[in-house]
Amino acid sequence: MAVQNPNATTATTRHGALGLSAEDLLEMYSHIALARAIDERMWVLQRAGMVSFVISGQGHEGAQVGVMWATDRQHDWLVPFYRSLAACLTKGMTARDLMLGLFARHGDPSSGGRQMPAHWAHAAHKILSTSSPVGTQYPHAVGIAYAAKLRGSGELCVVSIGEGGTSQGDWHEALNFAGIHRLPVIFIVENNRYAISVPQRLQMAVDDVAVRAAGYGFPGVVVDGSDVLASYEAGREAVRRARAGEGPTLIECKVERLTAHSSEDRQEKYRPTADLEAARSKDPLVVFKHYLEQVGVLDEARYTEIHNRIKAVVNDATEYAEQAPWPDPATVGRHVYLEG
């Protein structure tokens, strides 16, 4: 790289020690920045009355891209939740795909406009369709992992949830089963300390969800989710364990929710101002940008180039989705059962 800082050699940088190149870093950064730009555009469209609903992943992107980068993004599975925008992009969905979902258009690859926005799915990218009841996706992920093990396909499955979702019975049942069978699954908990408005202290009596892994017989680790490289490192170890047949890993990523729960929520009502301000300092996009500048991977010219490209992609996706055809009302009865 022309912009590589001569002082930041492979041996001395954190990313170098993890085996990540400058190109890797820039690609990871681009995914995080693209996810953020799409997310921000979604809010603008909602506030302008162009679309009816947004639920956000802002603040979670670094953890998602970091962990997903450690997986085989073609071969492995993702069972997302409604804040997994960046993970879905990393897995191969495009800005157009995501915008089609937001606008609920016929071409929405997740559901053809049948589900609310942020209920992503993509069969070709091995992203399983998920629902709104929280926690149900966890047993699906261990079922996928069980099938992978039985069939000897070598796939693993990443599944995500917030800390609130860990209160559900399905979450517990899934971890228990995965531990018993040492399944190739990576359980991600993106802990942003709020389940809509309910703070973590009223959700559980422990500081770290990760400690619960001990009760299921596999490791649980806590990572700073604003630290992309730390998330990658945790993901890499979890992938190694899964591929080696050592079983699941629970990764708790401490993240910040930079927006309200959804466009129907006002978080100022229940989050103190100081808390909201502190959250801003843990913005993974800012933290990662700072790191890239420090190690000389990102300079102003490169930054401008990346963000101009992202702006063009988001503009294109918005226009494309806005002009895309609505679902035909005559199709409301289709795909209830397999059509012969």
Binding site: S129, L150, E173
Partner: protein, 329 residues
């Protein structure tokens, strides 16, 4: 061709499907070494091994949820719920997940799972409130699901094979009393009974009775009793509750002009209500009497003690009385 019990037919269907297709597996509580509490998977563990005859933790939501994931990744799971009374923790996984997977993904993902659940009362060992329930009404309501309940061993084998090969989720309800009381000829070879069509078990002209599961046994007995009195009942085995064979139902009503539905569940908003509404809407002009439902009383479930259990169950005698009243209308 061999004469066998319904439980043996269930077992044979699964055994043959697991031999035929290595993607098929069974999972549930006690399905392994024990071979299931009713013996449906007896001998499977030795034949197919632990990975395909999977004893699960005691967690019904997990059993169905894991099956949904397995199906997404290329397997064909048969999930056994030990008693249908315990299926309710899995309601969310069945209704919100399995049944909607295809619709909500616009056809991209399917959910080819079979959920077997023994149901019903009137068994020698009384089940009481939590080992006797009929649960079909909750699930037959749900688009995306298919709900099947066989009456004969022949149908049990053919319908279960059809369920396992079906590309969509099938709730396969097996009446516990029929497990050992229903006997019949079952071919050794591979055959399917299609999901959907009902079958007329007794031809008649006076009135039509629609039933399924163990209630067919009671209804056919009642039909024989009233035949001596000149009441010629037609008895239709619905077999599949969703999708419902409306054609056979309406054809029978048009033939006899009188309709009765018999089911073991409590009456209110039970499956019979749907059949009654169908007839009222589609064959009103053919009716020559009120549509009658014979069903359980409005109590939570079948009580344990002998006299209470007997008071709950629709019996041949109760059905015969209802037939006499309807015939005389």
């Amino acid at each position: 061709m061999a004469e066998m019990r319904l439980i043996d037919a269930v077992r044979q269907a699964m055994y043959e499907e697991m031999q035929r297709d290595e993607r098929v597996l069974v999972l549930g509580e006690d399905v392994g070494l024990k071979g299931g509490v009713f013996g449906a998977t007896d001998g499977f563990y030795a034949e197919f091994g632990e990975a395909r005859v999977l004893d699960t933790p005691l967690a019904e939501s997990l059993i169905v949820g894991v099956a949904v994931g397995m199906a997404a990744n290329g397997l064909v799971p048969i999930a056994e719920i030990q008693f249908s009374d315990f299926i309710h923790p899995a309601f969310n996984q069945i209704v919100s997940e399995a049944a909607r997977m295809r619709y909500r993904s616009n056809g991209a993902f399917g959910c080819p799972i079979t959920i077997r659940a023994p149901y019903g009362g009137g068994v020698e060992v009384h089940g009481g409130l939590y080992h006797s329930q009929s649960i079909e009404a909750f699930y037959a309501h749900v688009p995306g699901l298919k709900v099947v309940t066989p009456y004969t061993p022949y149908d049990a084998k053919g319908l279960l094979k059809a369920a396992i090969r079906d590309p969509d989720p099938v709730l396969f309800l097996e009446h516990k009393r029929l497990y050992r009381s229903a006997r019949g000829e079952v071919p050794d070879d591979d055959y399917l009974v299609p999901i959907g069509p009902a079958v007329v078990r007794r031809q008649g002209t006076t009135l039509s009775v629609f039933a399924y599961g163990q209630m067919l046994h009671e209804t056919l007995q009642a039909g024989s009793q009233v035949a001596e009195e000149g009441i010629d009942a037609e008895v239709v085995d619905l077999r599949t509750l969703r999708p419902l064979d409306t054609e056979t139902i309406l054809a029978s009503v048009r033939k006899t002009s009188k309709a009765m539905i018999v089911y073991e569940d409590n009456r209110f908003m039970g499956f019979g209500a749907e059949v009654a509404a169908l007839i009222a809407e589609e064959a009103f002009d053919a009716l020559d009497g009120p549509i009658v439902r014979v069903a359980g009383p409005e109590v939570p479930a079948v009580p344990y003690s002998d006299p209470l259990a007997a008071a709950f169950m629709p019996t041949a005698a109760k059905i015969a009385d209802a037939m006499r009243r309807l015939a005389a209308y």
